[in-house]
Symmetry: C2
Subunit: 150 residues, 2 copies
Amino acid sequence: MAARPKSQTASLVASCDDVEAQFYEALQQGDLERLMSVWADDDDIVCVHPGGQRLVGPQAIRAAFESIFGNGPIPATPTHVRRIEGPGCTVHHLHERIDIKTDEGPQAAWVITTNVYLKTVHGWRLVAHHASPGFAREPIDPADGPSTLH
Amino acid sequence: MAARPKSQTASLVASCDDVEAQFYEALQQGDLERLMSVWADDDDIVCVHPGGQRLVGPQAIRAAFESIFGNGPIPATPTHVRRIEGPGCTVHHLHERIDIKTDEGPQAAWVITTNVYLKTVHGWRLVAHHASPGFAREPIDPADGPSTLH
């Protein structure tokens, strides 16, 4: 078998956590190509931004992020991650902390997010990112235990 | 092998569409037991109601639906369903039409929803239901084609 390019090999062995880290780093950097590389190549992949419509397929998702990045990167950090693992499928649900600079100093807003990853021939890929309007304060999460904070 | 009870056999051969139909029928009927029977028995299952917090685990999800059903059933009908299928996992994303009776006659509101199903030893089960505040009118969905309407 021919040797795979290093980047492709790295991608194939990446875990869901690696792919999720890449997604949020790309958001924080406003890196559209890196962001789109974590998604599965499937016409039915879905992205819902807080307060937004349902975006279906790579073209619509790319166009929306391109527009968002036109105003700058998204300072979103995943917190309180919970995981549901199936065969070839992992669901992460979490709170995104969005760091905002205001005249009164740095503030945070919170978004509730579900990310779904499927194992494809190209490795783990994001197929659904659903984010809901959150809250101005860190949400109270009675289900949180020590193992769910990171 | 001992014969399975009929209801258990029916549950094991049910498709994701069957399970989803059962979920929405239970919402429409305000049937808490039927509603909870579609969920996987997993501490990390997640439910996000429009504008609500993240509810994690069967106990929190059950308590929230019990409270909601105290005000009556939820007249939600799934429309514009799109499906992403993986090994042992299916993601449905859709618009829920909520039929509301007002003094000006019947009206509809719309919710954007992602449902994730995993294949368990008990058959297909819901592990994530994430619903976002939608719109007062039927959302424009340029990705819709004839095969996605039902």
